[in-house]
Subunit: 274 residues, 4 copies
């Protein structure tokens, strides 16, 4: 199945050409060696897809990362070695425990901020995918007092409240990166039961019960930021109320809408929906 | 003719490569089976083109939809099953009656908000195409008090008045979606004789006497929103007056301008004008 | 030479794929029949290039047009029939006299607003190319009192003063289009000795002593509008003074800079510089 | 190695098509003649890559340039002849002394503003690469009093202070270009020990201890400008403090982050990382 997945993708690319990110080839050699029935393979393919999609939609640039709780062991998670999401291949995936310790390093350098992911998987058993990004339209909301709240129903999935975590409060002057597991735990505590969190002068964290939900939420966090910024230039925006946020979230994550979105973003990134 | 249409398109794509949306292949198998003289086929090809164009111009993303009144029966309309417009193929098209009931479901899931279309076709006999979208630049105008009015002649086609419909007024807290035919009728009543309508915290509805007019209006609704937002940052914008709106609309929809625009947007989306 | 020009272009496109506008094929049949030493052919090739460049840089969309004074007869000018600039081919070019009357119509529909071009060529003997466009970032300056003045040296070429012409002043309620030669003359009178003019609620007119100058100026008119809008959000912008505008214009139009820009924009549009 | 580098690139382009800039072919003839072990060749390949990357990321348009201190002789630097960065090829590279005098002109026209580079290399021995650009989002900060300071950690590399140099202060009314070595020295004096400098009504200068650092800083100068402009529309932004700027700069330029970014931007521009 893997081979078919990527053979199809390659044919599409060759036939039609592709623009933007997400067009760089997977290492076909490595994939050819992959057994199609490796446990968890579908999740890992989705993780590759998530990397390409987030790059293709300008949610991540050279920096940012996405992870998945290991489907084979909920006390582990999987994410790429330190590499730009646009370029991540299957061989880049590494396993970590919930303290962020690599379990199969083989000389590969992990992301410095894997502790964000580790601490959230430890604190939130229902969360199975985490995105960290610096989406440009979100950044203004990390350095001002204006709360980033959902203004349109499609963005309700970002949640009614988005806390802001400032590393300086507990850790003083730093390079702003979440490098230690205690810092990750502090961030996870501020996140609480919410879906998203902003990091002052840095970026955002987005969580989901699966990869498609986390990816769609990261995309709409950026859309909502842009819409809210512009709406405020016109006047005081009417926000969704909490009941609307809850109901619209359920609709966006229903079978009516979520597969439609996942198919769309996969195809835009040149990947067969998986 | 169908086969030629898409064979030509495929050659174009293979020869030149294509970027962005609208580049994903139509199901050639299905098209090969289509009789070239099926009644209404030209309208259905235009509906496919409209889906691709709206995606290519960023009027719709994963969500949003476009429909056409059935040329074979004015008491019916045709739109895709629940699928992102960028990906819609001929086999996805479904027929509905003016209560939004599918007439030929064959296991396919319809869009949840087809009632917007149904109610407008019932209320407005002269309308033959409806677009529903969440174009990002339009959204700020759905949540503030600033009226979205035409500032430039090319956008006069959006009409002198654009009412805003808030589902909360009649239906209280919802998921913001127009799921029931009564909700669609309420929206259609607020629309009245206007061309466009904004939905609070949600998006827009655009109507046209045919598909090209509806598509062009949806595109220019977004252009006008962006221009008006920016103009307000400079000062109080001079708007078109009602006579100018009427005269400029007639010019934009004349044989001098409309076919020029339709040819342009089709070609940008990689589709032979139809 | 023509054939080589476009054969090279076609090879480039086939080898590398191309994105955006300007990628649609010229009619090779027509070009194959073109004699390479037709008088004025270089200017007509430049006019085709200008059409593609203006589309590729989002200076025009479905609407807008560019013309050249006929190199064979200064009392005539040449522009496309009514067609989107992205799609214009050699066979679309038509000749007009300085009243805007077509000289070789052959059943083709001319642009409704050719009178803008006709009146400017009549009033300004040193002008040899005219662009009319609705570039979105320029439009806000057509409906507010903020003067569009050059803020950066690369945009000095737009000129120190840009008058605004409002068709309503002399002609009352219209469809906003310059349809009659008297309207064109009124516009040309407001333009005076300036390089650019804004049309209230409509768009812009840009002139040049040749095609590359007119095209570069149209591009930088949009850049300057965007920069000025943003600068005003920060505070009161320091403008170039008149001496700086004059000196920077001379530099931008010198042999050091102009061919560099023309080569760049041609290549971006997939066209061999001509 | 050179030949492999570009053969690989060409294969990628042929197989996948590429969009945007950076897709125009290097002169394969010239490259075929290049000895793979020419001293400094890696730096010159990086300089070509930097030209393509800066064009591909919209940091430069037709104008702007990037240089490298000559790895073979620190009293020289290397940059293209007067040509748009998107189009620069190996044969365009010229050597200059630290007064900006061409050492191997062979009839080629140098950039008018090479004095910016010459004077900075003379004043700052630790600087080995200089970028001059007119990135549109940076320009508003060149004409207003709002200081361009880092708001997010990824942009800390632009430095805590960015001075603004106004050519008018010392040289009165000019064409705004740094044409004489004394003007370059005046600019370099204002730059002082900082990384970046803004030129009033003109653009920016960015320096780096190597090419990847200069390129990444130029990219993030634009990102930070955009974020700061938007943040100010929300309220008074919290800036990074000086300790955070220093620590985050060290992290962004560490082996964890810099190669990740360089690989990413090279691949986006269609170039094998070098």
């Amino acid at each position: 199945m893997t081979q078919m997945l990527f053979r199809h993708r390659r044919q599409l690319l060759q036939a039609f050409g592709m623009a933007g990110l997400g067009t760089l080839p997977f290492s076909s050699g490595l994939l050819a060696q992959t057994e199609p029935d490796v446990p968890g393979l579908v999740e890992f393919q989705r993780l590759l897809a998530a990397n390409r999609i987030l790059a293709n939609e300008n949610i991540v640039d050279a920096f940012g990362h996405v992870s998945v709780r290991d489907p084979r062991n909920p006390a582990q998670f999987v994410m790429s070695r330190s590499r730009s999401p646009a370029l991540v291949e299957l061989e880049d995936l590494m396993e970590f425990d919930l303290d962020g310790v690599p379990l199969d390093q083989r000389g590969r350098t992990p992301y410095g901020e894997r502790m964000i992911h580790a601490a959230i998987y430890a604190a939130r058993p229902e969360i199975n995918s985490v995105v960290h990004n610096h989406a440009y339209a979100v950044l203004p909301f990390t350095v001002t007092d204006v709360a980033l709240k959902p203004v349109v129903h499609a963005a309700a999935i970002i949640g009614a409240e988005i806390p802001v975590w400032d590393i300086r409060n507990e850790y003083g002057d730093t390079d702003m990166l979440v490098r230690r597991i205690e810092q990750g735990r502090s961030l996870a505590e501020t996140l609480g039961d919410n879906t998203c969190l902003l990091m002052r002068g840095h970026g955002a964290v987005v969580t989901g019960t699966d990869i498609p939900r986390a990816v769609l939420t990261a995309i709409y966090l950026q859309v909502n930021a842009q819409v809210l910024l512009q709406a405020r230039q016109l006047g005081e925006p009417a926000l969704l109320n909490e009941a609307e946020v809850a109901a619209a979230t359920a609709s966006q994550f229903s079978d009516l809408a979520l597969p439609r979105a996942w198919e769309y973003y996969c195809q835009r990134a040149g990947i067969d929906p998986v």
